[in-house]
Point group: C2
Chain length 145, copies 2
Amino acid sequence: MKYSHRLSDAVHILTYIGASEIVEDDLSSRAIAGSINSNPSLVRRLMSSLKNAGLITSEPGRAAVSLSKPTNEITLLDVYKAIEEPDLFHVDEETNQQCPIGANIQSALHKAYNEVQQQAESEMSKITLADIVKDVVDGNKKTLS
Amino acid sequence: MKYSHRLSDAVHILTYIGASEIVEDDLSSRAIAGSINSNPSLVRRLMSSLKNAGLITSEPGRAAVSLSKPTNEITLLDVYKAIEEPDLFHVDEETNQQCPIGANIQSALHKAYNEVQQQAESEMSKITLADIVKDVVDGNKKTLS
DNA sequence: TTAACCTGTTATCTTATATGTAACATGTTA
DNA sequence: TAACATGTTACATATAAGATAACAGGTTAA
């Protein structure tokens, strides 16, 4: 998945909810889809994952989604784990076990990838939805002034 | 691309070259493909990218590829940049510019993603081909003993 | 010099995935 | 009861990775 922007759209949804004071107060999937320039079904599917991860609260029939936690307690890592595959890189699991290289490269790569993954996740855990919302709100103020 | 193992296969190729003393000394694309359990054409295409990045040296007609640098001077980051798209995450570039959120989310996400990218790349630059080769060779010794 | 091998490149096919879109069961509200 | 919402599923389309084949041209050894 190289051309995916699921994570971006999921953050967009959370930002929309968290910064709803600067938009018309319509939190329907249709209104959020309008902001993303996508469609309500995509939004509802992403929201389903966010809901399963405990990041948002919603009810059938009511356009009344809300964040389950304050924006400074929702990290980029939380969204990543709710939405994306767990691993940034993938080991080729089909290497030739009869070859000394093929038989040992998988564990060597897993070890290397784990180190990169940990650093990336550590950084993601430092970035909160509050940071994103602030950047968006500040950017909007700048436009208005 | 989510299910890609191009990076793993590229590291596999470099490891095969760098640890060729523990395999039969055949460095043809056919032999390397045999270790990956793939096909020679894929190997040659990846090698083409590795060659463009200055990591390996090869000549048409001769099965005599070699590393352009010592294994401890080739990092995982070098391979990543030679093979993969530059960005781990992708910003949705189609957001609604008429919406305060849609108009400002892109730059906020770019900023956040850049921080994660930098940490990941920093970690990748610390992992060298020498580390991978060592793990593979050690793993092989363990099997033989 | 010729047969057998190789590299480097391109093209095609298949498969996996993301997204767009529609549909529908069901809940909510005025 | 009409209008609108969510939550879920199904399907079509677009994109990308990988498998495979083909071929022009270089290399090597008998």
